[in-house]
Symmetry: C2
Subunit: 135 residues, 2 copies
Amino acid sequence: MTQFEIDARLARDSRHLVDLDLCELRLMEDSRWPWLLLVPRRDGIEEVYELLPEDQALLFAETVRIAEVLNDVTGADKINIGALGNHVRQLHVHVIARLETDAAWPNPVWGVGAAEPWDEAERDRFVFRLMERLS
Amino acid sequence: MTQFEIDARLARDSRHLVDLDLCELRLMEDSRWPWLLLVPRRDGIEEVYELLPEDQALLFAETVRIAEVLNDVTGADKINIGALGNHVRQLHVHVIARLETDAAWPNPVWGVGAAEPWDEAERDRFVFRLMERLS
């Protein structure tokens, strides 16, 4: 098996939180939305159907679990899930908590305005609650 | 089990192609992109984690299969998959074939411009090839 290497743009735009069975769970460096990424630790994969069947099942299980936990922690009005990859081809799944009052509602968040950095204490609190629910 | 009823906006914006084990497979009434919808035939479900575990597995299997078939039929540069639901709350998954030359690339297609109707003969050819690969 080749060594997994995270795409440079994903590495720049998000921070590593924890390794799940298949995926790196990462937090986007943008405080406008509680916005997580799941990145399967497999090299050379761009589409879900390129994963091995057992990895496909893991990816879906981890996506569903993260969506539910993110919803619990944020009290979101809607969870948005997307695997697009038009900019970054390395397979990654976005899981985003949306509020009907947020800056992009009801449109998707991708490409909207400029990222706003997290307040560190707020980010720590959010990540702590997320990790607590995940463990 | 309650009778499944498709959301009125989904019914207006897309047409029924075939029933898979879990989902209605539908084609968006927009010729700008080969754009499919998977709608689980379950009432009252808005988020993937609200589905029963066996339905979650079916939804993912059908999404992966449709993504691969759509890619084969279109020769897409990228498949976009998304479950957003900000406008229509009934759970539905978008599977969209993207080309680097298409009208929205590299942005998402949601909310871009106005839908353009399919030429009927072109739509028939596309659906025929899709059904052929699915069977």
